[in-house]
């Protein structure tokens, strides 16, 4: 696919918390219309990487380029709103600055229209992700940043949410940066995978990464199954590669 404008570029970014090294010489670039997925084990620095892109954390060294004026829609990993706060989804969406209209339309786009008058505390995991996506869409973002977008969502819902993210990308040419420790589904729903364990172990097209020894070293036996999974999608007519065969 032809790459769009550059949105974000990290070059040799490092960050430590005290003596603990969170990120070490990490480089990454993100263009319009591109979905980049960061995968890695727990505590590999994935969320820290997102926080640097979001401007919530400052790198110790390296350069961080974010296109000036870039509008970012952010889906945090967990959103626990205290039960004592009476807040409907409608109000929740209108809380951000410079948004007054379009709430209902945004919810319709993410398939969460039915939640508009519900208290936010009553949403299921999948509904919450759709509502958060709607909130991000209200900003008409150039870049969507999603931290574990399918955590706490059932398997059928996970596929739907990834399909939704891809549709948003296709329709709006939004750049998408997402983080996951869950290998399932991610491989098929992304243009580029960055395999992170404090440093970038390997990166590239999902099928390439899946065959990379560094990737297999990081994810062990699970990885082999995914190599087949990715392979199957690469060569739809090659029945010999069917993992279930």
């Amino acid at each position: 696919m032809k790459k769009g404008d550059l949105c974000v570029r990290l070059s040799d970014v490092s960050l430590s918390f005290g003596r603990r090294r969170a990120l070490s010489d990490v480089s990454l670039s993100l263009h319009r219309g591109e979905i980049v997925t960061v995968i890695g084990p727990n505590g590999a620095g994935k969320t820290t990487l997102l926080r640097i892109v979001l401007g919530l954390e400052k790198a110790d060294s390296g350069t961080v380029f974010v296109k000036p004026g870039l509008r970012i829609g952010y889906l945090p990993q967990r959103l626990r709103i205290d039960d004592t706060l009476p807040l409907t989804v409608r109000r929740f969406l209108a809380l951000q600055p410079r948004v007054a209209s379009g709430v209902a339309a945004a919810l319709a786009q993410t398939g969460a229209s039915h939640t508009i008058d519900l208290p936010v505390q009553r949403l299921s995991g999948g509904e919450m992700q759709r509502v958060l996506l709607a909130r991000a869409l209200l900003r008409e973002p150039d870049l969507l940043v999603l931290d574990e977008p399918v955590q706490g969502v059932d398997v059928a819902g996970q596929a739907e949410i990834f399909a939704l993210i891809r549709r948003i990308r296709d329709e709006r040419q939004t750049a998408v940066l997402l983080v996951s420790h869950d290998l399932h589904l991610v491989m098929a729903a992304t243009d580029e995978v960055v395999c992170l364990n404090h440093h970038v172990c390997c990166s590239g097209h999902p099928a390439t990464v899946a065959r990379d020894p560094a990737y297999r070293a990081l994810f062990g036996d699970d990885a082999a199954a995914f190599a087949l999974y990715a392979h199957k999608h690469d060569h739809a007519h090659d029945h010999g590669a069917d993992p279930h065969g």
């Binding site: 919530l56 945090p76 205290d82 004592t84 807040l87 409907t88 929740f92 809380l95 600055p97 009553r122």
Partner: protein
């Protein structure tokens, strides 16, 4: 009825009007213990005000802010968990306040009044401070309402969306300090947190949106003030605790209300 009763009622209602909305945020942001720490440190403010001969209300605001900033600095060190830090600051400040007050021999100080409030001794000057400081607090709160609500829901989401989180939090702490200085005379430093969280908690079950909860909390606070004062006069109870107990009763009643139907939310 005597003048002092009307002044007490007016003062209590003034405090309830501010405590409702501010208390709602204390509940939403789970800051009850933080409120306690700030109000306990207010006694140190009173003591220093006497020692330095400056306006007591301003001294209270200044000490509350100092303690809040100290808390932020300690939290940055990540040595101890926040609740532990709050406990340390809260009781250290309270004890320091008591020690400093004990050293002041020149002024006879009504310690019980500062600890539990002295609503029946409210002067016109107190009333001016309560309504002046209270109005200032409410206007400022209205101005930061939406960003503060966004920060309450999710700080980092708010920051990415362009809210100035640090400034909003600082403004909120400043308002907390103001409310404490306003409420000291009415319920005393040990019961201020109760005046903040009880009416808000009582309002929760009936509220459909944040603004409704803030307004209902103010209303509940006013009812508690009127009821507590009446009980205090009728049965000769200490006024501050009587007001708090009236608020507790309102909370108990609201907690006993039947749950609303699921569909209405």
């Amino acid at each position: 009825m005597d003048d002092f009763i009307w002044r007490a009622l007016a003062a209590g209602i003034g405090v309830a009007l501010v405590a409702g909305p501010m208390g709602s945020f204390v509940v939403w942001r789970r800051l009850a213990y933080f409120g306690d720490t700030l109000s306990h440190s207010a006694l140190l403010g009173v003591a220093l005000g006497f020692v330095l001969g400056i306006n007591l209300n301003l001294a209270v605001v200044a000490v509350c802010l100092t303690i809040a900033l100290l808390l932020v600095a300690l939290e940055r060190q990540r040595l101890l968990e926040s609740n532990t830090l709050l406990g340390i600051l809260s009781h250290s400040a309270l004890s320091l306040g008591l020690v400093v007050l004990a050293f002041i021999e020149s002024v006879r100080i009504d310690l019980m009044g500062y600890l539990f409030g002295d609503i029946l001794a409210v002067t016109n000057q107190d009333l001016a401070w309560i309504y002046g400081g209270g109005a200032l607090t409410l206007i400022a709160l209205a101005m930061i309402w939406r960003p503060l609500l966004a920060v309450t829901v999710h700080e980092e989401l708010a920051q990415v969306e362009g809210v100035n989180v640090a400034a909003t939090r600082l403004a909120f702490v400043l308002l907390m300090a103001l409310v404490i200085s306003v409420a000291i005379k009415i319920v005393g430093i040990l019961l201020i947190t109760a005046m903040l969280i009880l009416p808000a908690a009582a309002a929760r079950r009936l509220a459909r949106n944040p603004e409704g909860m803030a307004a209902l909390a103010a209303l509940a606070g006013m009812i508690a003030v009127a009821g507590g004062l009446a009980a205090s006069l009728t049965w000769d109870l200490p006024a501050g605790p009587a007001v708090v107990l009236a608020a507790s009763l309102l909370f108990a009643i609201s907690a006993a209300l039947p749950r609303r139907g699921g569909a209405r939310g």
